[in-house]
Structures are given as structure tokens and as C-alpha cells.
Subunit: 645 residues, 2 copies
């Protein structure tokens, strides 16, 4: 269980900085999920989601595009949207990360990696270009003639990410060689003295930095930096004139951006990439601008779930505080991209708030995107579905999760995220080991003081007790640093069963000469609590959200008294929130009950303020973890609860 | 000043039923606006808006399309969107209606009617087809190959409306003959035994009913009925697969529709047309379904302004109670189309609520669409513009009104609506004359009892006193029926200065043997009042709107104390609303002042509900009529005011 040296990324996880950062990630195999929620999730991801993903991609004839490209066919039928290659690569990245944790029971994963990598390699043009839509469809005369929409660079970026993942996870270099050739081709094509341009959809920037981190080739970092800095000057032209510079994150340079805007996924991938560039170039000014942008986003452009993007139109961020629950877009991919950004900012700074947000988004903005059986997906994660909602789109939350989409970025993105989710768990800094997220796991690290191995046992997120047993420890003192989430207002810590002492939000350091067998216990308060929103968020005025631990709760129609629509339920102020673990509901979840009222439906839309509200009956309503909704059919649901007296 | 016989529509206004209806409209020249708000508006519409409209259409080279079509050119450059013809016709309809009221000072209006009608006639194909995009662009192989998008029938529908208007207003039959040929062509092409299909955008249905009313040719009514009934069976296919049946009002037959849905303008034009068909075919079942749909719309799918359409995406109605202020679409055209629908339902039933809504929408949903100088337009009428709003579209309210749009339906629609707005003022039923809207005007009618002429003098909507002087009256008794709006909770009526008596909402009948010189006085209460919204409308929870008379009020940034953002202003419950007429503001408007608070901006997006709200300073805030906002530059604005204690 060796660590990976900086600059040698075989065995590393998704992000592997070369430059010094405040925190170092652990290598892929230094964290292994064991029993518990995230471990179960990762196992289900391999057994159900990734396996079904191959079936879907095969049914879509995605591989045929590669076979046709390899055969040099032009003008034949192309299958899927122009970014179909990108979905293939994200899925293959998931296979790569999962091949490690699933290697014993999923031999086909390694076969897929080998065979599909060979196929992809065979489709690459001699000069390194690779994009099956262009290569086989015959619908474009010149490469890069529509940078705004064609996703050529995006697809190659996703391929580079996939190649880096596969190399790090397995050592197989087939796809890495394809990635280097593609990156060389891009570097020969784009740059200050070459073609000035960039892809309408960022992702290659992050990919190129990781390729630099994997190969040490500085040109890749310079090209990533060029792509990041070239944006924001309204350079990209949309031939259809339908999309604006805002959509493409091309209105303002990233270092001048105060709020993220436009297409949420693009904005987040760009911000994550800019953070990578800032880290590797030592650009502290850029890093500071990104931290400020992140703060502004969290304060004014984020849902309480961590969901990002308020507008269906252009899948975009809205104006500050424009955060409607019903029309929340909150694309699953946007949450994932934001987690990638926060992780980079965390590594750069060590600030706990970034891991707080990763936790919030993992459980409440990314995981709602997949069903409990790992077979169906939400693209859009609304915080409310109304009674009488009309399903007008396959993405409509009122229609429930779908097995697949014409644009299946979210399913494949979830697969690679869950397959590598353990990389968010821990990090190091000098003689300190940080636990950033809590899950049953074995964690090992090589500190200057020596080798550390920990067992983490917990029923998190259902339970707030985290028990950390030291299995191996150096003789020198070192620090076990535990993240106490900002929501945990009465956390406590004890060692070896001694008296517990309170732990404030942030990182709580336990520095001592640890012995094998020592046990540190972190207790996070799991009493349900109420949260309110900023006065500028119209949608949540006079309303609260129930949270419990890291989980946001929702009321779903199926759990409420007969004849009472969730649309009409209010929470009675000052009432108690009671909880009970229901082993028979949704695979076993803590249910929170509260006293509410049922406002009679119907009546006029508007009336004089002097008219009294109609009398409302009392009732007991039940809330479930938001991410588990729509697993018993899709129906009305609400996260925000109006408060009544 | 003769009336027009039923079935002889020369001299009639926009809607002229043949079948008996509960109320009869007056002829075009039987209502003449004199001094006052609507008269000023109509004069400005002629002098500024319509004149500029010709300049814009000429600059867009819209007329060149006709000249090219007339010359038989194919494959030449086509100018404008595929519905450019439709804008031309709406503008020409405005010229037709305005040619009457502006005939003394606008001789060019009659010239335009003559010359442009000749030009349009010369462009028509021999078989009656007329659509310059198809005729000159060479981009389509067959007519009607993309009914969903090409607007061929829509354009001919707008032409028929324009032709009917011109014939009624001037007697000129040039365009009417074009309309008959086009309608015959459509009737030869579409129908149960011919091509089953209809236009993606309704409008021809209303046009065909009016053509039937003008010509007596029943085929046109049957074709209108066919087009109405053929919808709702998911027949229309979008070759781009981007738009659903919902968008095209093609998901549910109109007689089964409970809530309007999809593209708001299309849904309203269809509902208005279906009402026309129900009237002329005596289809009481269809009429009842439309009345129920109207009730549901008003209760759950309408903004307090009367604005319709909650979603930018697809310019569409949202789900019931989905009514965000900031992202309100509330297209100017949707309000106009709804006024057309309500007028038809009023004629069919005589219910006051339809004229109530016409009033609300005229002042608060249609008129906000045009600047006070008549030179700039809003396409979208949001109820809120936030601080830090980004302008990402020419339709964005944050960008202010625009002189014109690539799709300039709203400006031309406003022009024809204002030019004919006097047709909403009065109606008759047996020996009763109803005043439905209040404005300085002369109104004449031929009742069974004899000829009636009234002078209406009022400073409405600024003032609630309406003084009606009988100038001519028959010797027999007859009824003067005055609409008391539902918002007027303490209206009173007096005759010849006698003691005033209270008048309930609805129509208030004054039946007597009127003498020339008699004066009836209606006093509507103009004290500002507060209105609240339904508990299912998230956006307005805990908030109120200020209304005064028929006007909805808004707070605009420019009127507030320095350093206080409208986003942060709340209204203190129980405080007084004081008003004063400010002659120097916005051409003279009643300003309403209230005691408010300034919630400090900034701070976290979400926090525990147990944390106290920060202390807020008191201030005096000022509200102006919503329709006058953005006439001193565009900036933040809000209609709904959170209530605080």
C-alpha cells in the first residue's frame, strides 16, 4: 500500500498536484472504503450502474462510431450527439477507477479497459486528432469550424481525463499514449501564435493539467493556461446566434469574475481548471479571485442542497439570489464539477469550508441524481415538484429518474465520481492526516513521522458517531485532524473513551504519540435542525428546511396523510422535530416528523391582504432525506417548508 | 355616426359576432376617445409608435420580400424571421384602426394602406398562397413541409385579420380580396378530407371567424372550427424534436383543457379562437370548457399584473402556481391575446369578471410593454429586476425597453391594440348600454328604445371619478350599466348630484327615463390597498402588492433613499400608505409612500433558523405605477414587497 511520489502519478487519484499545496491528496489505494454507506454506494456503482452503462452505450452504438473512424469511413451514420465520445470517456474513466475496488469480482472491467482503449487508439487520426463525429459524419468541412458547439476539444479533454485515470489506476498506457498524441495535436493547433480559440465547453483545461502532472510535459500546462486565459473576451462566436458569451463563460476573464454565470457545468469546470492552473503556476492572484468567486457563489447562487443553476434556459446560473425551488436546474453534473473545484481549492488552502461544501453537494446535489438501485438518473434536481406538474421533458423531475438520456453526461459523470469518491476522504499536511469526509474505510498515509494506518468505522450519514482506530502508527507524535462540519454546533471528541470535549467547526487537531489500538471518537450531533434562507431569495421567504447531519430533508407526497397535498403543508413554528429510524422505508432511513398545517387548496390567486387566511387543520407530516425521494414513483415533493403559527 | 348591422361589418371594430351574444359590441365610430389617459395614449400611438413602426419595417427590408415575391424572384435573400410577414400585417392593422381616429392629421396612413395593400396583393400567388419566406427564399421544397415552425398559415392569418380591419375601418377591399383568396386556398388545402394539419402558431382561426363574420361565407367558419378541433391530438411533429406538443397547444384538445399550458401567446390565441367558434356554432359545451379554463388560469397561472407565462424556456405557462417574479416571462403579446379572449367571453356571457381582467391586463400587462414616449418596448414584463442582474438577452427587462426586436410581435401587437382600444369601452344588450372601461370618450349606441349619446369625462386611471353626461336619449327608459371593478370595495353612484349610494362589484344598472343633460357620477375608491397571493405561490409568500385603482404599483430603485437597494426593502405591517400626485414624475403620476425597512444585504445564503435576522433600519419608500417603470433608465425594480413587523 505504497504512496505515490509527487510527479509520479501511477497509483494516484484524480488530482495530483506537482507544486506544493497546503494539503496533499492520498494515493488511490491509500483509502479503501469498507462497510457503510459510501462503500455500499461504490459497490452498487460497480455492480449496477457501470455495468448498465456499457449496455446503454452499446445500444446507442457509440462504439460503432469508433469502429467506423478506425475503418476510415466518412459520410456514414453517426450515432448520438456530438459529445457522445465524451460520455464514452467518462464511463471508461469510471471503469478505470472502479477496476481497483472491483477487481476481484469484476474481471470484465479490465477487459473493457483493454479492448475499448485499443479501439479508441485505432480511431485516432495520424496527427493525434480524435473526434468521431467529425471523422465519420462528413457533416463538417473543417475541424474546429464551430468551436462553440462541436465539442471536439471537449471530447478530447474527456479522453485525456479517462486516460490519466486508467494509467493511474492500472498502469495501462494505451490510452495515455492516445492522450499525449491528442494533447500534442491540440498544442500544435492552438496557442498565442497559432489558432486563437477554445472549446465552447471547458474540460480539456483540467485534463491537460493532469496530463502535465502525469507526464511532466510543461507544454500541456501552458496550453491549459492559454485555454483558461483566452476565455472572457467574447471571442467565441455562436453561428446560430442563439447562445451568448455568458453561456460559454466567455463574457469576463475568469480572474475578473465575481459571480459564476452562464451554463453552470461549464462555469464550474472552468473554475476548477483555473484553480489547477493557479496551483501549478503559483498564481496567487488568480487563486484569490477564484476563492472570492467561490464565496460569492455559496452566498448567493447556490441552493441549500448545494445544487447549482437556477435556469432551465441555457442550464444556467441565474442572477444573485435567483433560486426558485420548482424550476431549479441544479444539474447533477454541476454539483460534481463544483465538488471538483472545491477539492482543488481545499488542496490549495486547507480551508474546511471547501470540504463542507463537498459533503453537502455529495449527499444533496450529486447523489439525488441516481436511484437507490443505481439504475436510473435525474439530470435536473429540483427542490420542489408541484401537484399537477406537467412532464414536458425527459429531464423533468416530475417524470422521475430515467434509465438514460439522449445527453447522458450526468449518469456517466456520477459513475466516475462514485468510483473515485474515496479520494475526497483524507489528505495530509506535514505530520498531519486530515479526515475530510466520514465513511467506513481503511486509510493509510506516509507522514514524515512514519507510516500511519487507520480504521474508520461509522454508520454515517445516518449516525454521527465516527470511531477511528489506529492500526499502525510511527513512534513520533503526529496529528489526526478531524473535520467538524459547520452544521455541527455541538460536536465532541474523545480519545480511548476518556471524557469527551467539545469540538468547534473546522479542523480539530489531535496531536499525540498515537499507539496502535488507540481509538479517537468523533460525535457529530444528528438532531434534526431548521435552516432558513437569505431575505433576497424570494422562493424561501418565511420558510425553513429540515436538515439532519449532512442531509437536507424533503417531504414527499407518498409519506403524508391521505388527501393532503405537500403543496399545502406548512410547519408550525416552535414545534418539535422527532425522528425515528424506519428500517422498512427506502432501504432504511431516519424519518423526521413535525407538526404542520394543511392550508386548504383552491380559492383566488390574489385577494385583499385584509382577508383572513382560511383556517388550517393540524397534522403530522413526515420528511425523508432529499436524496432518497422519487424512489417509490415520482410525485409532488418539497424541500422548503413555509412556517406558520 | 350610424351603427353597423349584424352580418354587415363595414364600420365594425375587431370582433363582430353574427350569432346572438349576451352583449353586442359597438361599432368602431360609436366610441371616440376624447381627453384623458387612453385618448392621449391612442394619439401617441399614432404619432410616435405607428410612424416609427414603418421606419423599422422598412429598415428591416420587410417590404423588399413582397417586391421580390411580386417579381417572382426565388432564391434571393429573404429579410427577417419566417414570421416577418405577420409583423407587417399587425402593423398595417394598426394603421387601419388608427386611420379613423388619426384621419385628419395623418394622411399618410391612408396612403400606406393603399400602397402596401397593393404591394401585398401583387405578391400573392395565383392560387391564393401568400408567404414571402417560402416564395422568395428558396429554402423550402414544398409548402407546409414544416407546419410546426414555418408560420405560413400564421402569416396568412395575420393578413386576414389586417384585411378585415382595413375593410371595416375604411371600406377598402383590396386586402380583403387577398384575404378571401388566401382563405379559399387554405380551405382547398386543409380539412378533414384534405390535408390534416394546422399551424404551429394559432391566429388564423380567429382571423377566419372574422372573415366569416365579414363575408358570410360559412366555409371560413368551418375551416376555423377544423383548425381548432384538429389540435390536441399530438399531431404536429417538430422535425427538430426540441419542441413538444405542449409548446404547440397540441397535447390536449381545447375542450378538454383544464389549464392553459405551453407557449402562452399560442395558448391564448387558440382559446380566443375557440371562443369565437363556440359563439358562432352555438357550442355551449365548448364555451363552458373555455370559461372553466379561464377561471383556472386566473386562479393559478396568472401574475398579479395579469401577466401570463412563467417560463423563458418556450415562452410558456408554468405549472399551476409557478409564478416567479424575477423570471416572469409575461410577454406583452400574451396579455394582448388574453384581452382578446376575455372580450369574447364577455360578449358571450356578459360577466363582469372578463372586463375586470381586460382592465388589469391593459394597464399592468400590456401597457408596461411600451415606453411613455411610445418609442421603446418590453417583450418580457418581469415583476422584479434584481440588483446585479446580468443582461443576457435583448428581451431582458434589466436591459430596459428596446426600440425594436428581431421578433417584433410585441411592438406591432401593441400598436394595433392601442389603435383599437376604444372597442373595449362599451357594449349593449337589449335596452342597456354597458360602460366596461373608463376613459374620456363620446359613446353612442342605437338601442331598441332609440339613439343614445353619452359624454364620459374622467381622469381615470389617476382619479376614480367618472362623470357621464347624457347628450342624447330616447324618450323611453333604458339602462345605463356601469362596471364596478372587483377591486372597488366602496364604490358609489349618484345621478344629477343627488345623494350617492353604494355600488357593489359587477354591473350596476341605472334604469330610468334619461334626459339630455342628465349626469351620472361613478366614484371608484382610489385609496392605495394591499393585496396578497395564494399560499402555493412561493415567490410572494409573506409579501404584498400595493394597488391603487386599476393599477399595480412597483418600487423602482431611482425613487428610493440613497444606498438602499430595492431588493432589501420590506413593508412594515400596519403602516399607512400615503399618496400624492407628483406632476413632475413620469409625466405626472400618483406616488404611494410607505414605511419600510432596509434589511442589510450580504451575509450567508443559509443559516440556522435560530439565528436572529439582523436589525433593519426604518425608511420611507416610494412606489410608482408598475407600467411606468424603466422610463428613467432601467434598474432594479420590485412589485411584491415582503412584509415585516
Amino acid at each position: 500500500m505504497a504512496s505515490v511520489a509527487i510527479g509520479e502519478s501511477l497509483g494516484a487519484g484524480p488530482v495530483w498536484p506537482i507544486r506544493d499545496t497546503a494539503r496533499r491528496p492520498l494515493a488511490l489505494r491509500q483509502v479503501q472504503l469498507t462497510d457503510g454507506f459510501l462503500g455500499d454506494l461504490q459497490r452498487s456503482n460497480s455492480a449496477a450502474s457501470i455495468v448498465a452503462g456499457n449496455t446503454h452505450l452499446t445500444q446507442e452504438r457509440a462504439w460503432e462510431n469508433y469502429r467506423n473512424a478506425a475503418a476510415g469511413l466518412v459520410g456514414v451514420e453517426y450515432h448520438g450527439p456530438v459529445f457522445e465520445d465524451g460520455e464514452v470517456y467518462k464511463w471508461l474513466e469510471a471503469v478505470a477507477w472502479a477496476s481497483f475496488s472491483a477487481e476481484d469480482d469484476r474481471p470484465e472491467f479490465l477487459t473493457w479497459l483493454d479492448e475499448y482503449s485499443d479501439l479508441i487508439a485505432s480511431a485516432q487520426a495520424a496527427d493525434g486528432y480524435l473526434n468521431t463525429f467529425f471523422q465519420v459524419s462528413g457533416q463538417r468541412e473543417e475541424r474546429y469550424e464551430d468551436l462553440a458547439h462541436d465539442h471536439e476539444i471537449f471530447n478530447m479533454g474527456a479522453m485525456i481525463q479517462s486516460a490519466v485515470a486508467q494509467y493511474r489506476a492500472t498502469g495501462n498506457q494505451t490510452l495515455l499514449n492516445v492522450a499525449r498524441k491528442a494533447a500534442d495535436h491540440l498544442d500544435n493547433t492552438f496557442g498565442p501564435d497559432k489558432l486563437i480559440g477554445f472549446c465552447g465547453h471547458p474540460v480539456v483545461e483540467m485534463a491537460l493539467v493532469e496530463l502535465y502532472r502525469t507526464t511532466g510535459v510543461e507544454r500541456y500546462l501552458r496550453l491549459a493556461s492559454f485555454f483558461v486565459e483566452a476565455r472572457g473576451h467574447r471571442h467565441l462566436k455562436d453561428p446560430r446566434r442563439h447562445f451568448s458569451s455568458i453561456y460559454f463563460s466567455d463574457r469576463i476573464p475568469v480572474r475578473e469574475t465575481t459571480y459564476p454565470e452562464g451554463h453552470a457545468v461549464r462555469a464550474m469546470y472552468l473554475a476548477a481548471a483555473a484553480t489547477d492552473v493557479a496551483i501549478e503556476t503559483g498564481d496567487t492572484e488568480l487563486l484569490a479571485a477564484l476563492q472570492q468567486q467561490w464565496d460569492n457563489m455559496v452566498a448567493a447562487k447556490m441552493y441549500v442542497t448545494g445544487g447549482l443553476g437556477s435556469r432551465w434556459e441555457f442550464e444556467a446560473f441565474g442572477d444573485p439570489y435567483e433560486l426558485p425551488s420548482d424550476r431549479a436546474y441544479a444539474e447533477t453534473c454541476a454539483a460534481i464539477a463544483s465538488m471538483q473545484w472545491s477539492w482543488r481549492l481545499y488542496l490549495a488552502t486547507g480551508a474546511a469550508k471547501y470540504c463542507d461544501l463537498i459533503e453537502r453537494q455529495l449527499y444533496n446535489a450529486a447523489l439525488p441524481g441516481v436511484s437507490l438501485d443505481g439504475q436510473a438518473y435525474f439530470y435536473v434536481n429540483a427542490l420542489q415538484v408541484r401537484s399537477d406538474a406537467v412532464v414536458d421533458d425527459s429531464r423533468s423531475p416530475a417524470g422521475g429518474r430515467q434509465p438514460w438520456f439522449g445527453c447522458s453526461c450526468c449518469p456517466t459523470n456520477l459513475m466516475r465520481t462514485v468510483a473515485s469518491v474515496h479520494h475526497y476522504l483524507a489528505s495530509t499536511a506535514a505530520n498531519a492526516l486530515q479526515l475530510n469526509q466520514y465513511a467506513g474505510a481503511t486509510v493509510s498515509a506516509t507522514l514524515p513521522a512514519g507510516e500511519v494506518v487507520l480504521d474508520v468505522a461509522t454508520n454515517y450519514p445516518w449516525d454521527g458517531d465516527i470511531r477511528i482506530t489506529v492500526r499502525e502508527a510511527p513512534t513520533q507524535p503526529w496529528t489526526l485532524s478531524l473535520r467538524v462540519p459547520a452544521w455541527a454546533n455541538s460536536a465532541s471528541v474523545s480519545i480511548n473513551g476518556d471524557v469527551a470535549w467539545p469540538a468547534e467547526a473546522g479542523y480539530h487537531d489531535l496531536t499525540r504519540q498515537w499507539q496502535a489500538g488507540d481509538v479517537a471518537q468523533l460525535s457529530l450531533p444528528m438532531r434534526p435542525r431548521l435552516v432558513r434562507g437569505h431575505h433576497r431569495i424570494d422562493d424561501v421567504r418565511g420558510s425553513v428546511v429540515i436538515e439532519r447531519g449532512p442531509l437536507v430533508y424533503a417531504i414527499e407526497q407518498v409519506d403524508q396523510p391521505a388527501g393532503v397535498a405537500v403543496d399545502d403543508i406548512a410547519l408550525v413554528a416552535g414545534g418539535e422535530l422527532t425522528e425515528r429510524f424506519d428500517p422498512d422505508r427506502l432501504g432504511g432511513v431516519p424519518v423526521v416528523e413535525f407538526t404542520g398545517t394543511n392550508n386548504p387548496p383552491g380559492g383566488p390567486g390574489y385577494q385583499p391582504a385584509t382577508v383572513d387566511e382560511p383556517a388550517a387543520e393540524r397534522l403530522t407530516a413526515q420528511a425523508i432525506p432529499y436524496f432518497t425521494w422519487a424512489n417509490r414513483g415520482a410525485g409532488p415533493m418539497k424541500v422548503w417548508l413555509p412556517v406558520t403559527t
